[in-house]
Assembly symmetry: C2
Homo-oligomer: 326 residues x 2
DNA sequence: GTGAAAGCGCTAACAA
DNA sequence: TTGTTAGCGCTTTCAC
């Protein structure tokens, strides 16, 4: 900036005025044009770091998810990024790997980096880290997992109702012996989905068939999936608590020849591309785009000074092959 | 920093020394301890923005992909992020949406943000933007798509050989009438995969069966997939050029009842969880983790001053149900 | 319409 | 071992 001011024999402030678009009627058109030209000519790029330091906002937000390679989160992140882009923000994506310490450590770094806001999928015991973020006055929106006692917005779905309803549907269609496979993580959405499953089974007098297989996240996943496989394949239907556990299970199943035709598979999250075989595959759809958009909108409002926090629960849809045909 | 210095009646520089861990033997242990304590007590977080401005490096890198919700890219990004985290870098992820202008515009913003380096999947005509990045002396590594005439590292696989070999295998096993479905994007990997397909078909005297269906990316995807569906389902085998086009095709196929049992499906990229049905599904595996790691390593070297650029081509593997059983 | 000057929070060379 | 000082590149108030 100095350089281009010197070259034109004007002051840095004038250049700054022009380059930051605040020159309406305050700088003569002639000078303005000259400045713009020279800037292009010199291949000048504004130093956002310096601007951020001066004005006190980085135009950076962060999205902390469990794992960006998880399809649900990568789609959510995509939509947040596109919304952020429109509003002039860039996004730092972070993987917590379901680890509280990592989550907290990354949150600290983000605060140091002066991010203007954070959208986070909390880890199982992430309350402290969330509180720290709030303490530092960094706008925060939580998604997917509700965290009791944290003064932040929450965006998600009604996991209990969604799975209860879906299981009831299965039961009413004659599938009695339904088991469930879920990750062994103590997080609200999975617990709620399990509760929905249990309540639906009980209400239908099928408690004897309740069977919940907990799959550890990480290295042990494959083993934990393999072990109950025989029992699982013998049921009428199996309910997968989320996309990730479903795809991992399918990888294992692929080795033993596939899902029996008579078996029904129900999954939380979109598994449409899997509905091509003989067996009945259906799923509970979360409106990811809306969830993402809402999260960003809430964050934006907070960054603009809004102080209120709220819970925003989106409706889900049950999809089976029938509904695909419409 | 000022505050904590005042409170302890010492100077800012001493505090800085301690807090940035450069105090080895230069600051007394007593003072050091005091500083650390007060910092924690005051809930102090270093302002990285100011540090970055001063030292001239932001410890930020960026990964520009087509679309983070694409499974291949989200996995790649995940591994890059984990490598970056270990090296003390945070990553800004950007979607180009296959759009040259968007790519260039985002590259400009990234330069303004003073990112220390960029790992990019170039858009179809992204050469200018890449050159601009290099002009600005921002370390650059290109992945997945090789860009002729750009002085940057490249990391990827031999798309031609991989698909040629896979098609040859199919042919040798009796599948004669093999068609291909690819995205309608003029990018090297897809063109190479097509070339591999064509050459293999010709070499086997099956040119009469060569059929390439080009699917437009975006809104038209579904229509473009639907239209040739009847012809495609009548072939012995179909070769999908990438994960994305495969899953989208499956969504369409799901509505007409699935892939015929006798048909073989070959796909570039991991589709293991789909290998559960009756039909023969196989794929060409790219070593995503290695590609990501190498990309980051190259970027890191560049950021440390390395001036050389090179092409790094990783081997692929053909996977079918057989190989899963080992 | 334009310029001078202060300062955002930090680091690093040098002095004490 | 600790403090002084200059300055990274920008914005913004205030004076001209």
């Amino acid at each position: 900036m100095q350089d281009i001011a010197r070259r034109l024999n004007i002051s840095r402030s004038t250049v700054s005025l022009v380059l930051s678009g605040k020159s309406d009627g305050r700088v003569s058109e002639a000078v303005k044009k000259k400045v713009l030209e020279t800037a292009k000519e010199m291949n000048y790029h504004l130093n956002e770091l310096a601007r951020s330091l001066r004005v006190g906002s980085s135009n950076l937000i962060s999205v902390i998810v469990t794992d960006i390679s998880n399809e649900f989160f990568s789609q959510m992140t995509f939509h947040i990024q596109e919304a952020a882009k429109k509003a002039g923000y860039l996004v730092l994506t972070i993987n917590s790997n379901e680890n509280d310490d990592e989550f907290e450590q990354m949150a600290r770094i983000l605060i140091s980096k002066q991010v203007d806001g954070i959208i986070a999928v909390p880890t199982p015991d992430g309350t402290d880290a969330l509180k720290m973020i709030i303490d530092q006055n960094v706008p925060l929106v939580t998604v997917d997992r509700y965290c009791e006692g944290v003064e932040a917005d929450y965006v998600g779905v009604d996991n209990y109702e969604a799975s209860k309803k879906a299981i009831e549907e299965l039961l009413s269609q004659g599938f009695k012996n339904i088991c469930m496979m879920r990750l062994d993580l103590d997080i609200p959405p999975l617990n709620e989905r399990e509760r929905g499953y249990i309540d639906a089974m009980k209400a239908a007098g099928q408690e004897k068939h309740i069977a919940i297989h907990r799959i550890r996240f990480g290295e042990e996943m494959e083993r934990d999936l393999m072990e109950p496989l025989k029992d699982v394949l013998a049921t009428d239907a199996v309910f997968f608590s989320s996309h990730r556990v479903f795809t991992e299970a399918m990888k294992v199943v692929a080795r033993v020849g596939g899902v029996p035709d008579r078996q029904c598979v129900l999954c939380f999250d979109d598994v449409r591309p899997y509905m091509t075989g003989a067996s009945d595959i259906r799923y509970i759809e979360q409106p990811i785009a809306s969830i993402a958009q809402k999260s960003f909108d809430l964050l934006l409002a907070k960054m603009k000074g809004d102080k209120q926090t709220g819970k925003y629960v989106f409706p889900t849809r049950s999809i089976d092959r029938q509904s695909l045909l419409k």
